[in-house]
């Protein structure tokens, strides 16, 4: 009986160390100009998402090419099977874990931003950040 291995990558957000007073002052000045400035560093596209992206491109291109010449539909078919397989073999769960990680990260940096805006001094910021 064939066996298959499900590989799930778990992502967890770890809070960064406390920012320095210089960073705090600089961000404070930046946020006074644009209070919506996003402190959250951009996340890299994870491998599972890259696979899905390429599979979707394959399905789209294969679909278009199959209109020109039927046998080329195999490209779309192959891409579709790869997509389904990668989702079943842990891709879906990894993506879901990464989405949770991104959401936690976004929430944390939003709170840091609010703490910077609300704090009048670095000491006040430190006392606020401990509670996040």
């Amino acid at each position: 009986m064939p066996t298959y291995k499900v590989v799930v990558t778990k992502y967890t957000f770890k809070k960064p160390s406390l920012m320095s007073e210089q960073d705090f002052k600089s961000y404070k000045q930046i946020l006074s100009v644009d209070p919506k400035y996003d402190l959250n560093p951009k996340s890299e596209l994870i491998i599972e998402m890259k696979i899905i992206k390429y599979c979707l491109i394959g399905i789209a291109i294969g679909g278009i090419l199959s209109i020109l010449w039927d046998p080329l539909g195999v490209i779309a078919g192959f891409s579709f099977v790869t997509l389904v397989m990668s989702l079943i073999l842990g891709g879906a769960e990894s993506i879901s874990s990464h989405e949770r990680y991104k959401s936690d990260k976004r929430k944390y940096f939003n709170e840091v931003r609010n703490a910077i805006i609300a704090s009048k001094s670095y000491e006040e910021f430190k006392s606020r950040i401990i509670r996040i």
Binding site: Q22, D23, S26, Q29, Y37
Partner: protein, 146 residues
């Protein structure tokens, strides 16, 4: 009109997008204190001329600021060149206010520099301008420092 401008901006070459984004940044610094002085407008003209852009582009940037996307230069040298112009714009009317410098720092942050580096960059450029050091020398020194 906004949609049409957005569409026009989308189909423009990356080169034009990059230049317009820089002019938009300069304009937002000029407007940080709520008014565009003659000196600030002249500086916008100077930068546009230096980038081989027509005067009409400036009008387009002023009228449709929100339709121009922020463009992050791909090289640090170009980023520093743009920040240099931003600091010049903040200083051009002889009245350096917190908001103008804050806008320069915001633009630098959007370009991907970390706050500690941003302070260093802005301070370095400010000092070089005030000491009358040529921009090329100031930027070369800065580029080697960071």
């Amino acid at each position: 009109m906004g949609l049409l401008e957005k569409l026009k901006n989308t189909v423009e070459s990356n080169e034009i997008k990059r230049k317009k984004s820089h002019l938009k940044n300069l304009f937002s610094i000029a407007m940080a204190d709520g008014k565009l002085t003659n000196e600030e407008y002249d500086f916008l003209l100077l930068v546009a001329q230096r980038m081989y852009l027509d005067k009409s582009i400036i009008q387009n940037v002023i009228n449709f600021t929100d339709d121009i996307s922020f463009y992050v230069p791909s090289h640090d040298k170009e980023k520093l060149d743009q920040i240099y112009d931003c600091v010049c714009m903040a200083l051009i009317d002889g009245d350096l206010n917190e908001r103008e410098i804050g806008t320069c720092k915001l633009i630098s942050a959007k370009m991907g520099f970390r706050p500690a580096i941003i302070d260093q960059i802005v301070e370095h450029i400010l000092n070089s301008i005030l000491k009358g050091i040529a921009s090329e020398i100031a930027l070369n020194n800065l580029f080697n420092e960071i």
